[in-house]
């Protein structure tokens, strides 16, 4: 009943799609972590001029659909910025995807960082400061290492959500896994084989990701026992 031959006809799209989805996720995770850390610290800084922009950023990117963000960034924000302001060529769809996914992930990760840092008892900071550490040192050497352990499970969730949400870039004709499945299904009228193939590819990636996060959780929790 399922005609698998269509997959071999379109296998190049699936191979490219697998690589593209992987690339999108890795870049968005890394850039999103940096954005998230900065925003998270801004929100905890206690200074209004730092807290407010961070708050607005998180509200904006968490409060609007990612699909809309992708379309707006690809067709409006980046073309205006690059062509009208900088006088350059409008960047490719892949670049738009990196930007949209990273900015979006940054908002979610900022909240994870904020909650993680806030969950560490106040006494830790006070103790570190009373030992003569600066705020920065205390944050870097005492608070963040402890907070990171608590952030891992929600971060793992976010990475998996991000990997799956990256499928939305199909609308701007980026050849990810979903694009391969859609193109194959639309051209051949065969639905089962392309959708199942795409599902398996996503599962492979999400399973790898969740195993990596689980491994890190276990590695880091051993330091708890020693202490």
């Amino acid at each position: 009943m399922i005609d698998w031959s269509v997959i071999s006809d379109y296998k190049d799209l699936f191979i490219r799609g697998f690589i593209t989805t992987l690339e999108l996720t890795v870049v968005a995770v890394l850039v999103g972590m940096v954005i998230g850390l900065i925003l998270g610290l801004m929100r905890l800084s206690g200074k209004k001029w730092l807290m407010l922009p961070a708050q607005v950023y998180v509200d904006l990117f968490r409060g609007t659909p990612l699909l809309l963000q992708i379309l707006a960034i690809h067709f409006a924000v980046l073309p205006t910025l690059f062509q009208d302001v900088l006088g350059l060529d409008a960047p490719e769809a892949m670049f738009s995807s990196f930007v949209a996914l990273s900015l979006n992930a940054g908002a979610y990760i900022a909240e994870i960082f904020r909650a993680g840092i806030q969950s560490i008892e106040k006494g830790q900071m006070e103790a570190a400061r009373s030992l003569g550490m600066t705020y920065g040192q205390a944050m870097r050497l005492v608070i963040l290492p402890q907070a990171f352990k608590r952030m891992l499970p929600p971060l793992g969730n976010e990475f998996i959500a991000l990997l799956k949400d990256s499928s939305l870039v199909t609308v701007i004709a980026v050849n990810d896994i979903t694009y391969a499945a859609f193109t194959t299904a639309k051209n051949t009228f065969e639905r089962w084989a392309p959708y199942l193939t795409a599902a398996v590819m996503y599962l492979i990636l999400t399973l790898i990701l969740s195993r990596v996060v689980f491994y890190l959780e276990r590695r880091l929790s051993t330091s708890n026992k020693k202490g």
Binding site: D12, R16, P79, T170, I172, A173, F182, T183, N187, F189
Partner: protein, 255 residues
Amino acid sequence: MKKWTGMLFALCAIISLILSGCASKQAGTGDALKVGTDAQFPPFEKQEGDGRITGFDADLLQAIAKAGGFKADLQHTGWDPMFEGIDRGKLDAGIGGITITEERKKKYDFTEPYFEATQVILVPNSSSVKTLKELNGKKIGVQSATTGEKVVQDAFGKTYAGLKGYDDLPSAVEDLKLGRLDAVVADNAVVMEYVKKLGNSQFKIVEDPSIPKEQYGLIVKKGNKKVLDQLNAGLKKIREDGTYDKIYEKYFGKK
């Protein structure tokens, strides 16, 4: 107690909503034909601000229905769900610049052709491209699963890396305008509409005679002879009594 009745009421409301959703999925039970389209294909079909679908195909369908003495309810489903809706019996027919191809004929029955179209290449004015072949290695935008995509696939391979399939043609034209694509391949009437709208200075249309001409038809589920005959009879009648020519002239000028 009060809390329970409230919850029960809410549950009933939800269940009835779900059931009403199921009921409306069955096609062919009412008297109006359910016809799907992808209303992002001007001048053949587009959706107006108030939700109405207008365009050559919309007018043609209503004329066919009137001539045939039946009602037709045209709804925007999107391109891919239109085919799927017909497969599943949710729709009786589909209209929307659907080119009659051998591949589609395997799964659907087509009415008599009602429009002759050809694929043309839309390029920026500065481009020197004269034929499809010259686009090899370049980025070409199409609407996925249209004959525009097929023409490019036939020329450069099914999985040609420069082929960018968009869900809708306006997005592809937008990326051409922004310089992200080198060309867009699509149906002539649709491309002309864009050039008209965007002004002549930006784009030009390249016609490559090596691209075969094609015909549009309405589709029904394979074997749905009842609806097919209804549509064909109506189409024949409006061709004979001049209604077809009137609609044609309204959108494309004199033949």
